[in-house]
Subunit: 94 residues, 2 copies
């Protein structure tokens, strides 16, 4: 068993955090380029935004810089997908 | 400053984990019902799947039951979205 803080353990953790956080970028770009977000679930992004806000709160409360940094970045990207989805939805209603 | 493990701090953390993990369920259902995943980014779900596999590895290595449980659930849901997207993509090529 290794401990959190061991160098190679944190390499895995940072890699994991970067991949899961940055994964929302290609989704935002795809909606932007396709000009459509029909198949993207609004419920998913509302839940994800709420969940990451709670993760950020958790990070602030326990004083974890990693959690704060990861979740601020994630909220910006998830927020972009959410705005693109809402814009697409408003356009579809018109 | 509160400590991880304090009751109300962990209520926030468990709420955060449930929301972010379960958020993939409405996305899988939407693709299933719409019969289309065109606007869903394959790159996003490949990155998310790889990232969550690393989170699971991190959880196993440090012996965190919470991380293991959260990421096994998340991998099942993200894996479902990924399979639905790949099926849609294969159908679109035909």
């Amino acid at each position: 068993m290794a401990n959190p803080g061991d160098f190679w353990v944190e390499v895995i953790g940072v890699g994991a955090a970067c991949l899961t956080t940055l994964s929302f970028l290609p989704q935002a770009l795809r909606i932007w380029r396709n000009g459509s977000a029909r198949d993207v679930s609004l419920t998913m992004y509302l839940m994800m935004f709420a969940g990451q806000t709670l993760w950020l709160t958790y990070g602030v409360v326990i004083g974890s810089a990693s959690l704060i940094l990861a979740n601020v970045s994630a909220l910006l990207l998830v927020g972009s997908v959410l705005l693109l989805k809402l814009r697409d939805r408003a356009a579809a209603v018109k």
